[in-house]
């Protein structure tokens, strides 16, 4: 059968710093940093072992201006490995590694084909069949133009047509909009496969033909949670089959810990450890304490969340696999607690009534301070909610302490 097999990966973000990590010892931090490389090596190893026909990298191989020489060296080494295995690779650079950058470019081996800033076509011959790959690289940081218009429509029935596109769905406001496209536009090109990049969340926008975001190969912060990797795609004359390959060296995740029946600290620690056992691989975890009843609340009020976190980290310690508890948070008790009086209620109601603008106004002292603005990101809604929850908890704890 004249089928082709290839790897579709995107958003490697090699050697990009991990965000939102605090309190991690340096050596663990290094381990964390190595994980993008490990994930990449996993990818290359898989490609070589599975002996795929070619590999597609749909943008954002590096993390923008911060790209390190090491990252480029590692990528180059990976490409050399593919070259040794006689596997071609196709690269279309994305917004994070656009062509206009002033950074040093490493020479890549001859098996690597890099698309230039205009949409072009690369042709190769696999198993007696022609394969046409279309793509472009970002000329500069921001490409807001709908590049999809420049992709040609597939006209050769007997060949495979694959589109590489680093960009986002038009109208999706959750990410910076680059090279916007609509599903209809993509389908109109009558390609056999659309290899997308840019969105770090793995998703299949369309089944037949597949329009796929493989997500990034390694989560880098708590919002990029879960298993990450790439797709190994097999195209046959009758259709496509996709196999997701996990590459993540460690995963970010959050776990709910039920605090039912927790009266004492050791019971709580046991509950946390039990919950942690669900993830049997290196991970960075946010723990969410749920089902907090009166006793549990009483327990948690005894000391600050930071101290609980510290205690928990000590207990979890350096067990294998490596598990780092990034944070713990507490859900509101199921039933409104009796401890707070009318006054507290009115204070809490006060916060409830605040709008985003109010919040910004309240917190501007820090968040809009000339010196901090450089280092602090704008607070998201979730963060505001977190702050409010935290505030509620602290207030309650403080009042119960004063009683």
């Amino acid at each position: 059968m004249s089928s082709i097999r290839f790897i579709h990966a995107a958003d490697l973000h090699l050697d990009s710093p991990f965000k939102g990590m605090t309190g991690l010892p340096l050596e663990q931090l290094n381990r964390l940093r190595a994980s993008t490389f490990t994930a990449f090596e996993n990818l290359i190893d898989h490609a070589c072992e599975a002996s795929v026909d070619f590999v597609l990298f749909v943008g954002d191989i590096y993390d923008g201006e911060d790209r390190s020489l090491r990252a480029q060296l590692k990528f180059q080494e990976g490409m050399e490995k593919l070259a040794a295995a006689n596997i071609p690779a196709f690269i279309s650079y994305g917004n994070h590694d656009h062509l206009n950058g002033t950074w040093t470019r490493f020479e890549l081996p001859s098996n690597v084909y890099v698309f230039d800033s205009d949409v072009s076509e690369a042709k190769l011959h696999v198993g007696g069949k022609d394969v046409f790959i279309y793509g472009f690289s970002y000329k500069e940081r921001h490409v807001r133009e709908a590049m999809i218009d420049r992709y040609p429509t597939a006209d050769k029935e007997e060949a495979y047509h694959i589109g590489m596109l680093h960009g986002s769905l038009a109208g999706d406001g959750s990410h910076a909009v680059y090279a916007p496209f609509t599903k209809r536009e993509l389908l109109a090109k009558r390609y056999d496969y659309w290899a997308l990049g840019h969105i770090h969340l793995r998703q299949i926008l369309h089944e037949d033909p597949p329009i796929v975001y493989p997500g990034n190969i390694q989560g880098r912060h708590r919002l990029e949670s879960g298993v990450k990797g790439f797709y190994e795609v097999e195209l046959t004359e009758v259709g496509a089959s996709l196999v997701f390959i996990d590459t993540s060296a460690l995963i970010f995740d959050h776990l709910d810990v039920s605090c039912v029946g927790v009266h004492h600290a050791n019971e709580w620690l046991a509950a946390c450890q039990e919950a942690l056992r669900q993830i049997d691989r290196p991970c960075v975890v946010d723990l969410v304490m749920g089902d907090i009843d009166e006793d549990a609340f009483e327990l948690f009020s005894q000391t600050s969340a930071d101290e609980w976190l510290e205690v928990l980290r000590e207990v979890v310690g350096e067990s294998e696999p490596f598990r780092w508890i990034q944070s713990i948070s507490f859900q509101q008790p199921v039933e409104q607690n009796s401890e707070s009086g009318v006054l507290v209620q009115s204070v809490l109601h006060e916060m409830d009534d605040w709008t985003d603008t109010d919040w910004k106004d309240v917190l501007k002292e820090v968040y809009q301070h000339a010196r901090t603005v450089k280092y602090l990101d704008v607070l998201t809604e979730e963060e505001l909610t977190e702050i409010q929850e935290d505030a509620t908890r602290i207030l309650r704890a403080e009042l119960s302490r004063l009683k």
Binding site: V342, E350, A391
Partner: protein, 961 residues
């Protein structure tokens, strides 16, 4: 929330009563001590708990001992119909809330139902008596605020404290221009890190230029290497030229020399030919000389003469040599034989003891025939026979004598027996008879007694013992007694015997003992005596025999001795015939005979040998003389033939040599001829060569050759140089260059090369260091680490900022709440209170306000301000009630509780009371429970639910209206 029903199990004086309440105004009327306050307290106790025992408040525990507590049934806008039941339990009582949907709750549910209000907060708004109203003058703004907030002093204080604490914690986290707060520290760290990062980035930024430079250096190096190569080539050319310069010069010289040697001729291969010819010539001359010499020698030798005729005679003699030697050998043998025989003869003589010529002669002529010898042997045999017989007879005689002697001795030694013994032997048969009888008697007697003497008493004893033991064990004393009796019986039976029989038996035994031992001895003695008689008779007979035999033997011996003497005389006579005196031992006589015979033989042989000797000596003498003749010189017999042989061979050799020389001479003559011809031919050849080289002497010939050689060598060299010169293509420019010019050029190129070399070295160094640097940059993770650190620090800062934010939010919320209360709610309440007060006082007072000190003021319609304390008692109370009602109204949404009043309107006049009632009538959202003891109050409220508390005691709680 409205109270619908009160069910009192047992509380104070009340027991088992149920009170149904209306939804709006309820007037509970009763005379003093009817239990109004008890009901009011019941409500509060049920809602907020029984007071502690040590509290100032009464607990209203039932006097009758009924079930302490009761129920309050309520209708709530949020929770619906609920029943709150509180009974005796822990100090505050055991509370259960029954919800409409069947759920139950405890204190916590109640708390929610009561909107977190505690008793104090509740009382400060919703429950008041006249007495409490009177304290109003002391009320100030803060008090009012607290009241308003309905949480008592603690709540506000706590909040303020929390706010302060939050502010403090925020201060620890962040200050606008601080250094110590955590966020400031973190920011400082971030700033520093950014600077470090910038440095690091600059370092990393150097990578691209470095790589560029490395490439450029590589290019430059390539150019330089090319240049260097070119220089090197030039240098090579120059050095080649330098090498070639002396060659051209040499060529010139060679050519000059060649021109001098121009006309040299020399025959080809001349030297070899010349030398071969001269060599051969010398050789031929030498050979010629040798032949001449040999000829003269041969001739000289041939001059001497020899005598070949003598050779024949010598050969004849030599042919007879073996004869000569035989003769000599035979002579020697004969001489030796004669001497041996002479010695043998002498020895025989000596052995025979013959001395003197005569004796010898006798012996030599003696008759030693066989017959004579036989005669001698016969004589000897006779003698021997006799001596043998004599010695046999003597030995017979000796033996018989000895036997005889022994027999006699034995006879004498025979022991003679004693008379006593003979006597006792005669007595013995009688005694023996008697002994046999005694033995028979004894054996009979013993068999009879032995049968039962011991068996019976022993059995009795055993029986006795068994009886005693049995008796003792069984304590049957009768059995013991029986045992003892049997024992005694046994003991008595034992010694009992047959005394009479025994006495004769003992006698018999004594007899047997005496003779039984002698019986054997007597028998032996009898035997012994008989033996003796026999032996004696035998010995006496033997002695007679031996005596007669001895005498016979002595006679025979005498006879034999006389015969022997006769034989010896005959033998002596025979021996005298041979010259021997006396008788030699008969053994040697045959030997004598043999020796004499041998001696006679030897003497005959000796004579024959002497004859032979003479013949041989004559032969030898003849031969010696023959040799002497031939050799013509004196010769000795000894070594005769050696000499002859020597002379012969000398002569023979000389003859042979002569023959050889003759032959040699014949050979040499033609040889000599030949050599002479050869020498002449060679000499001709040599002179021809010399002529060819145009020289006369040999020396000149060689000189000519040398010159010819030199010329051809020079020609060759010139050719070689030309070849070398033509091999190296030299540009025309350089062709004429002198050595100096070349050197200058070389120097210039060398300078250029060293410059290139320096440049290259520095470039290579630079490249190496750049490569090292870029390599380091590639492997260096500092930049990445720092980036990560930056991200982490940012995250930490964000975390701190969030922490700060929560605290800030709390502080801000508290601040705003307080502000809200003071700045918004409080004025609202005051306005409403003023409104109510205005109505109550029939528009006399316009408003209520707060003084700067925070105390309340009443403002009249004319604008006059009176501190509350200065108002009349009733007006004061009216102001307070207004405030309370305004408060209750303001919190209606968050706290929709009934307002419980304990007769606070008693000081009101008719008009103000009716106004008050009217106002209350308008406040339909609230439930009022009014306790009073005044009849007129009951009458004033026309549309109120009136409950007569006084009736309840008598009707035992079945009271409803």
């Amino acid at each position: 929330m409205k109270i619908e029903k009160l069910v009192i199990y047992s509380f104070g004086k009340h027991e088992n009563i149920s009170i149904q309440l209306g939804s709006h105004v309820n007037v509970l009327y009763g005379l003093n001590e009817a239990g109004k306050t008890t009901i009011q307290q019941f409500i509060l106790h049920i809602l907020f708990g029984f007071p502690a025992r040590n509290s100032s408040l009464l607990r209203y525990e039932p006097k009758s001992g009924g079930k302490y507590g009761g129920q309050v049934h309520i209708q709530d806008s949020q929770f619906g119909k609920c029943t709150i039941e509180r009974v005796q339990g822990k100090s505050a009582g055991e509370v259960t809330v029954y919800f409409e949907d069947g759920k139950q709750g405890g204190e916590e549910a109640l708390q929610r139902l009561l909107r977190e209000y505690d008793r104090a907060a509740f009382e400060s708004i919703f429950s008041f008596s006249l007495l409490q109203l009177q304290g109003f003058e002391k009320m100030d703004e803060e008090e009012l605020s607290r009241t308003l907030l309905a949480s008592g002093t603690t709540g506000v204080d706590s909040l303020l404290e929390v706010e302060k604490r939050m502010e403090k914690e925020m201060g620890e986290l962040f200050k606008r221009s601080g250094r110590i707060p955590l966020m400031n520290v973190k920011m400082q760290e971030l700033r520093e890190l950014e600077i470090e990062l910038k440095v690091e980035e600059e370092r990393v930024a150097a990578y691209a230029p470095s790589i560029g430079r490395i490439r450029k250096i590589a290019e430059m190096l390539a150019t330089l290497r090319a240049q260097e190569k070119k220089c090197r080539e030039q240098l090579q050319t120059y050095s080649l030229l330098q090498q070639l310069l002396p060659l051209s010069r040499q060529k010139e010289q060679l050519e000059a020399r060649l021109s001098q040697l121009k006309d040299v001729r020399f025959p080809s291969d001349g030297i070899r030919r010349f030398e071969s010819l001269t060599g051969k010539l010398t050789e031929a001359e030498a050979a010629k000389k040798r032949v001449v010499h040999e000829m003269t020698e041969v001739e000289a030798l041939l001059q001497r003469h020899e005598q070949p005729e003598k050779l024949m005679e010598m050969e004849l003699l030599l042919a007879k040599e073996s004869e000569w030697h035989r003769w000599r050998a035979a002579l020697v043998t004969a001489t030796d034989e004669w001497q041996r025989l002479d010695g043998l003869e002498r020895r025989h003589m000596d052995r025979l003891g013959v001395k003197g010529e005569e004796a010898e002669a006798v012996l030599l002529a003696a008759d030693v025939s066989i017959r004579k010898e036989e005669e001698m042997h016969e004589l000897l045999r006779d003698m021997e026979e006799l001596s043998r017989e004599i010695s046999f007879a003597e030995s017979q005689k000796g033996r018989v004598e000895k036997e005889w002697e022994e027999t006699r001795a034995k006879l004498q030694a025979l022991e003679v027996p004693s008379t006593e013994d003979e006597e006792s032997v005669r007595e013995w048969p009688k005694i023996k008879q008697k002994l046999a009888e005694a033995k028979a008697f004894v054996s009979l007697g013993e068999r009879r007694t032995n049968r039962h003497t011991q068996a019976l008493p022993l059995g009795l004893f055993l029986l006795a013992l068994v009886c005693v033991i049995f008796g003792l064990v069984q304590q049957q004393w009768v059995v013991v007694l029986v045992g003892v009796v049997i024992g005694v019986g046994g003991g008595w039976m034992y010694p009992k015997k047959d005394d009479k029989h025994h006495a004769s038996l003992r006698e018999m035994r004594q007899f047997i003992a005496d003779y039984e031992s002698k019986e054997l001895e007597m028998e032996r003695l009898t035997f012994h005596l008989e033996n003796y008689r026999h032996e004696r008779e035998r010995l006496e007979e033997a002695e007679h025999t031996w005596e007669s035999r001895y005498e016979k033997l002595v006679e025979e011996l005498d006879e034999l001795v006389s015969r022997e003497v006769r034989a010896e005389g005959a033998f002596d006579l025979f021996m005298q015939q041979y010259g021997f005196d006396g008788l030699p031992s008969p053994g040697i006589v045959p030997e004598l005979f043999r020796i004499i015979r041998d001696m006679q033989e030897v003497a005959r042989e000796k004579e024959a040998v002497a004859e032979q000797q003479k013949i041989f000596e004559a032969h030898l003498a003849r031969r010696v003389s023959a040799v002497k003749n031939v050799l013509d010189q004196h010769v000795a017999s000894e070594g005769l033939y050696e000499l002859l042989r020597r002379k012969y061979s000398q002569l023979k050799e000389a003859v042979e040599q002569n023959k050889v020389l003759q032959a040699r001479k014949a050979q040499l003559e033609p040889l000599l001829e030949e050599k002479i011809v050869l020498v002449e031919a060679y000499e001709k050849g040599v002179s021809a060569l010399l002529a060819e080289a145009a020289v006369e002497t040999e020396e000149a010939f060689y000189t000519a050759y040398d010159r010819y050689q030199e010329m051809s060598r020079l020609q060759e060299q010139v050719a070689q140089i030309e070849k070398q010169l033509s091999a190296n293509q030299i540009s025309d420019e350089l062709k004429g260059a002198t050595e100096n010019e070349l050197e200058q050029r070389v120097k210039a190129v060398e300078t250029e090369m060293s410059a290139i070399d320096q440049q290259m070295t520095s470039l290579i160094h630079e490249k190496a260091s750049l490569e090292n640097k870029t390599e380091q940059l590639l492997t260096d993770e500092t930049h990445g680490d720092k980036l990560q650190l930056l991200a982490m620090k940012k995250a930490e800062l964000a975390a701190l900022a969030q922490k700060w934010s929560s605290r800030k939010a709390i502080a801000e919320a508290i601040r705003r709440t307080m502000f809200e209360l003071k700045e918004k709610k409080l004025p609202k309440v005051l306005d409403r209170a003023a409104d109510l007060f205005h109505q109550l006082t029939e528009e006399k007072y316009e408003a209520l306000a707060l003084s700067e000190k925070g105390t309340f003021l009443a403002i009249t319609s004319t604008g006059r301000r009176y501190p509350i304390a200065e108002l009349s008692q009733a007006t004061k109370e009216q102001a307070y009630i207004s405030l309370r009602l305004a408060l209750a109204e303001s919190v209606l949404l968050s706290a929709p509780f009934p307002i419980i009043m304990d007769d606070p309107f008693v000081h009101f006049d008719e008009r103000r009371l009716s106004r008050m009632i009217k106002i209350l009538g308008t406040l339909t959202k609230h439930q009022f429970i009014y306790f009073t003891c005044h009849q007129k109050m009951k009458e004033q409220w026309t549309d109120a639910t009136v409950i007569n508390v006084s009736d309840m005691g008598s009707e035992q709680g079945a009271f409803t209206l």
